[in-house]
């Protein structure tokens, strides 16, 4: 199929960017979206132009590097996938596709479609861990039984790939789904419960410092999340935080 691409180009953080239109042809519908981008870049290199910079790595939907806003939605029109798992069969011959970086104050742009998501790292550094030393001298793994339901819910929260689609989709650029997934993962397990109060207070404080917007429960994040992280996590974080603040 043949496509028209409208892509945000910006040399670096200090220059102004703009949308540039490109044409690509002979795109197979079995291609992944990023393979289509490879075709475009190959074309640009041949012409002596600069290829489009975009983050990507594992290309199987787990590393969370890829982060494109495609036709107004993070990771494009498909559900439950990261950009790298989006396939061209979701598009039609002749389509125009707008490709932009994830936009948020807390995700400053680096180049073209690449943004800096280190704010996510800092939120986790603020408390997204259990304070145990990695000495290996801990108690036997089976000495703390964890009910299956909690373990499963913790796992589902922990499947977050940290891509930032929740922020990108949110009209407020809020990072609550991400932060709450991290908070929930630990809050649901006995190992993490010990320092749950400190954790939630510190992580929320850091989240606020980073300049993310506030949550207004629109639910866009849950729908666009490639891993389907549930809004339940945000509610849990709200609870955890309330509990921790009144203590």
């Amino acid at each position: 199929m043949n496509l028209t691409l409208k892509i945000w180009r910006q040399k670096n953080a200090d220059t102004k960017g703009k949308v540039v239109t490109y044409q690509v042809s002979d795109i197979s519908e079995d291609m992944s979206f990023l393979e289509m981008m490879d075709v475009l870049n190959e074309q640009l290199i041949d012409k002596g132009d600069e290829p489009v910079a975009f983050d990507h790595d594992c290309r199987e939907g787990i590393c969370g590097s890829c982060s494109l806003q495609i036709n107004g939605e993070p990771h494009g029109p498909d559900r439950g996938v990261a950009t790298c798992q989006l396939h061209m069969r979701k598009f039609k011959d002749g389509d125009t596709i707008t490709i932009e970086p994830f936009r948020a104050k807390a995700f400053p742009l680096i180049k073209d479609l690449v943004v800096d998501r280190s704010s996510f790292d800092r939120i986790q550094q603020a408390g997204g861990y259990v304070s145990v030393n990695t000495s290996g001298n801990t108690i036997d793994a089976n000495s703390i039984p964890v009910d299956k339901e909690s373990a499963d819910m913790s796992f589902y929260a922990a499947t977050c790939i940290g891509c930032g689609a929740c922020v990108a989709a949110c009209k407020n650029a809020s990072a609550m789904l991400f932060t709450s997934a991290k908070v929930s993962q630990f809050a649901l397990l006995p190992q993490g419960e010990v320092e749950a109060d400190r954790r939630v207070l510190q992580m929320v404080e850091q989240m606020d410092k980073e300049g993310f917007g506030n949550c207004t429960n629109t639910g866009a994040c849950e729908i666009e999340c490639p891993k389907g992280i549930s809004l339940e996590n945000i509610a849990r974080m709200n609870r955890e935080y309330l509990k921790a603040s009144v203590k």
């Binding site: 932009e100 809020s174 429960n217 639910g219 729908i223 809004l231 709200n238 609870r239 921790a244």
Partner: protein
Amino acid sequence: MAKSALLKSSLAKKYWMAFTGLFLCLFLIGHLLGNLQLLIPVSEGARDQFNEYALFMATNPAVKILSYLTYISILFHAIDGIWLTITNRRARPQGYVSFKPSTNTIWASRNMGVLGTIILAFIAVHLYQFWGQLKFGSLDDSLYTTANDQEVTDLYTLTIQTFQDPQYGLIWAIIYGFSMLAIGFHLYHGFSSGFQSLGVNHPKYNGFIRKLGYAFAILVPLAFAVIPFYIYFILEKI
């Protein structure tokens, strides 16, 4: 830290928004029950009942506390909302060229600020029109003498006359109806959202809360909106 957390953090603002919002939902029920008395066929009795009720609402100390809480809630809710809108705008200084929130959110949830502003404007008008008259009214011609011989504004007559006014009555009814539509949409998102903000989210009960919210968002504003039209079209003229 815990103290400032309940005042300054983003989550605290959610709690206050939810708490005041849900409190205002309760207020709506109370207010609606009072207003439904306006549907009683015109008579001395109807007039007495409504005016006595209005007086009770204005003078009873418990109700007074509640009403102050309501004013504060409205104020807080509105200020919080304005603050939210401003900070949330700042969180994305460079917008998207193409942004399709309609694919992942409902209209109401994206327009709470606009809806809230309409509602706030309505509240101002509404208060000026009735509550203001009751408090500072100078309408000498429509006074009501209460059971214990107090002279107060005849709120009943004032209300009925407003909506039966041959020139403006229908316009008022339409303005009220439109505002109730705004409240309806506001509640459509706000009701269940309030529960979510306060951490009430459980797969077992979510369906119920959401349905309750939708029912509330439709029925309560509808009942409010019916009243002015009923007065204009159906109620006996006074």
